[in-house]
Every structure is written in structure tokens, then in C-alpha cells.
């Protein structure tokens, strides 16, 4: 009985101290959780009295908790949906968007695959099963195994809207239903590394020697570029997306100080160190 009492008191005290002034709650995108953690640790080293908690769960989870007022900053690898903004407004939350970095999305195949460059049109046709065999894009005679992220992934949504639908809002292109929906970027990396027929996509941070990165061109007339830091910054590599922070209204006090740090030279260096692309 006494133990239970102590337990509850601890929880209540913990909650009160969390609600106190010297802490920031950051929640959201799994893609960004390592980045957020790195920022938080570096910031806390400079400001010993501040406590920053970073948790993942997905972009939608972060946005949902911003709407319900349980976090100060939502990390998101996609922009907020119309419904979400409307929902926030009804709860008196006024979401403010900050682009804190960029993420190039690499298209990868097995190192033994002879295909090394594709256009956006070819990629769209591959992921919608209009192209079913590697020989149609200059490879060997083998059927293509499609790997995608789950629908809860900001990367999935970005790839669909900007590659499959080529940014056209009226398009209704979808990933073919034969596409394998993998639970994580690492799962795609593992499967591509061991399957010579597979093609997949994920953030640049996951590129390794076990997979081959495909050079991408906007169309056959343009040049092909690989997802390197320079190509993403210069915009030559076509498939890259912004990473966002969302706050309730204009940030103030501690949150403002933290966001200023993120935009500062040290913060942007951390973006680079965690294999994302700085905005400056």
C-alpha cells in the first residue's frame, strides 16, 4: 500500500515538474528523433538547468500531441494536413511552421543490379507496376520487387506525392498493391542488401555500402544526380523534402531560445552530423 502511494506521489511530482518552466517536450517524426535528440543534448550542455525530452512515434503522433497541448514542439517530416490545422484551430492552437533541415530521399537497389540511373517517370512507372521487369529499364530479366514504407511514414507520403504523382494534386497514382510495406527504413535497407531484385527508398542517412544508390533525373533531357549533400542543397537532386518544427503560435521564452539554437551555426552543424541537409 505504502509503495503504491509513493509511486503515485512520484508520478504526480514528475508531472508537476514537467509542467514547470524549465522543460521542453518535443514529440513526433521517427525520421527526426535522432536529430532532435542530438539538438536537445547539445542545448542542455550549454544550459544545465533546462530539461528537454524528445520522443518519436511518427509525425502524426507529434502533431496530435501539439493539438492536445501535451508537447511544446512537434517534429514532422510532412506538412500538417488541412484537417489537422482545422482541428488545432478549434482547440485554440495556432500551429506555426519552421523548416529546420532537409532530407534527400535515396532510391536504392542491390549492388549487383546493373541499373544505376532512372528518371522520375521511370520511377513512377516502377512503383505503380507499369514497369514490372528490370529489363524494361536496361537491367537483367527479373521481376522487380517493390519496397515501400508504411502509410504512417512521412517518407511514404512524400514519395507518393512527389514521385508517383509528380507533384500533381489531381493525380490518383498509388503504390501498387504488390509493394511490400516495410515497418522501418532499416528493414528496407536490410531487404535491399539481400535481395537482388528489390528497389526501395529512404532518407539519405541510411545509405550504406550494402546498397547501391540510383542517380535520378527529372526527365530524360536532364542530367542524372545522386543524393549527395551538395546536390540536395543546390536542388539538383530532385527528391528531397523539408523537415519541420511546429509550435503553438510564435515561440517564446525557452522554446524560442531552443529554436534559435537550432537555426544557429551549431544547430545546423548537428543537422549535417546526423546525415541530414542543413538549410543554410
Amino acid at each position: 500500500m505504502k509503495k503504491i502511494f509513493v509511486f503515485f506521489v512520484t508520478i504526480i511530482l514528475a508531472t508537476i515538474s514537467w509542467a514547470g518552466g524549465n522543460s521542453i517536450q518535443i514529440k513526433g517524426s521517427d525520421t527526426m528523433v535522432n536529430l532532435g535528440q542530438a539538438w536537445a543534448e547539445s542545448y542542455m550542455q550549454q544550459h544545465k538547468d533546462v530539461l528537454i525530452a524528445v520522443t518519436g512515434g511518427g509525425s502524426g503522433t507529434g502533431i496530435a500531441s501539439l493539438i492536445s497541448g501535451t508537447c511544446d514542439i512537434a517534429e514532422s517530416s510532412r506538412s500538417m494536413k488541412k484537417e489537422e490545422i482545422a482541428q488545432a484551430k478549434t482547440k485554440g492552437i495556432n500551429p506555426q511552421e519552421f523548416t529546420v533541415g532537409l532530407d534527400g530521399i535515396a532510391v536504392v537497389v542491390h549492388p549487383s543490379n546493373s541499373v544505376d540511373k532512372l528518371t522520375i517517370d521511370q520511377l513512377a512507372d516502377i512503383f505503380t507496376e507499369k514497369i514490372k521487369n528490370w529489363k524494361e529499364v536496361g537491367g537483367k530479366d527479373a521481376s522487380i520487387v517493390l519496397l515501400s514504407r508504411e502509410v504512417n511514414s512521412g517518407t511514404h507520403v512524400y514519395f507518393k506525392e512527389n514521385v508517383l504523382r509528380k507533384g500533381d494534386f489531381k493525380s490518383t497514382a498509388e503504390f501498387d498493391s504488390t509493394a511490400l510495406l516495410m515497418p522501418s527504413s532499416q528493414a528496407i535497407a536490410d531487404e535491399v542488401a539481400q535481395n537482388s531484385n528489390a528497389i526501395g527508398y529512404y532518407g539519405m542517412g541510411y545509405i550504406s555500402k550494402a546498397q547501391k544508390t540510383i542517380a535520378v533525373a527529372k526527365d530524360a533531357k536532364n542530367e542524372y544526380y545522386t543524393p549527395t549533400l551538395e546536390n540536395v542543397v543546390s536542388g539538383k537532386y530532385y527528391i528531397s523534402r523539408p523537415l519541420f518544427f511546429y509550435t503553438n503560435g510564435d515561440p517564446q521564452g525557452l522554446v524560442k531560445s531552443f529554436i534559435d539554437f537550432v537555426f544557429g551555426p551549431a544547430g545546423q552543424q548537428i543537422v549535417k552530423d546526423t546525415d541530414f541537409v542543413p538549410i543554410k
Binding site: Q87, V145, V151, S177, T178, L180, M182, A187, Q194, N195
Partner: protein
Amino acid sequence: MQKNFNGKLVKEWVIERCIYLSGIASIIFVGLIFIFLAKEGFSLFKTVSVSDFLLGQKWYPISTPAQFGILPLIVGSLYVTLGATIIAVPIGIASAVYIAEVAPVKTREILKSGIEVLAAIPSVVLGFIGMMTLVPWVKNTFHLPTGLTAFSGALMLAFMAMPTIVSIAEDALNAVPKRYKEAALALGATRWQAIWRVIFPAASSGILAAVMLGIGRVIGETMAVMMITGNAARIPNSLFEPVRTLTATVAAEMGETVRGSDHYFALFAIGIVLFIITFFINLIADLAVHRKLK
């Protein structure tokens, strides 16, 4: 004296109530869970018809217009569950018979603790091992485009169902009165005849319960299937194609849905479907056990 007596009565009453509350707590929780599931899940059917939901073949939950057809998911769950049952039931029952009737005492103790350890391995660990070892093996052995198939999932889940099946079936076999076996042997039956013709039929309802609980374990399993079945929402033609199960869909998509959206309700509606399926499996298991008691 009188006071002391009253004190005892009060104490008795309080303890009785407490035990009563603990006793009905699980039923209250099940009830609350179902009410919550129903409240959220049935909201979907304001916009999507029940038949479109259950029989639709397209699962594109985040498109506009969204399509919420869970037939591929139901079929996916059935494929994996059936596959795992076909593998786990014969091996599990045979293993239970060996442990209960044949094995020497020492071997029995080793086997029993081995099975307990198998039951204690977290499913995410089994999923990870499956992804690293089983998936490439399935791909190469059967010359498939990918090893992420219903078959891989079934094989892995068979491992998870096995401890449940073995331990419950073994209890059922042990519950058969010793004199049945002794009588059979005295009448000149061989050991195998005694097991197959006498002990096995006597324990059959307990074994059926073991099988049903094993199936219940398989259909509700999430993490391992999510990691090794490929999760493609399409009705498979064979066990050697990728499938997407009901549980994996809820687990994979719940984190990212907009609260109160159709997608959110659809995931709860999937929860209702799963609840109904497991409810019936448990009901059958329960009926089987009760038949034994009569």
C-alpha cells in the same frame, strides 16, 4: 466482546467485497474495452458501408477518396494463421504426447523448461531472427522474388504457438486418470495403442482447447508478422506471396492517423473484427473444456 465481533464482521465484509471486485474486474475491463472499440469503430460505418469494409479489396487508407477494404487483410491473417496451425498443431501435440507419456523423467524436465523458455522469447526478437535467417532461406529455397511471405510468417508463428499448445495439451494428457492406461496395458494393448486409442480420446477436449488457444495466440500476434510477411495489402494466390495481416495494419498505421478521421475509425473497426474472431476462438476452446468436465 461484542465490539470485537463487529470489527471482525466489518473486516470480513470489506475483504469479501475486495475479492469480489478483483474477481469481476477482468469482466469489467473486457466490457469497457469492447464499449470503447465499438464507440470508435462503428463511427466508420456512417461513411463506409459494412460490406465495402469487409469485402472491399483495396486498402488505401490515406488517399482521397480513401478506400477501406479489409478483405486482403482478413485473407492475409487467415493464410498466416492456417499455415502456422498446420505446422504447429501436429508437432505440438506429438511433443505433448512425448513429454506426458513417453519421455523419461529427466528428459521431460529438460523439455518442459525448454518449452517455457521458448514461450518467454519476446516476439520482436523472434521476428528479428526470422528476418535475418528465415527470410533469405525461404527466398533461396523456393526461388521466390522475395522471402517476405505468408509462409515465413506462418513458420515463425508456429514457433510462438507451440509452447501454448504443448503445455496445455500436456496438462490435458496428464489429467487422464492413470487407471485408464493401466487397464489398457493390462488388457494387452501396446504402449502406442494405449496412447492412441485410450489416453488420446480421453484428453481430446483438452487438446482441442490447446489448439484453439494456440490459434488465438497466432491470430493476435503482431510484431513478428509485421517484420516478416511483407505487408502487401493484396489477396495472395498462395502461401508463398507477401500478405498483410489485420494486426500488423493496426500496429503500423495507428501512430500516424489523424484522431477522429475515417482512417482512425477504420483501425478501430479492424479491432472489432479481431475481437470477434478471438472471441469465437476462445468460446470454442471454452466449450471444448466444459464438455470435458461433464
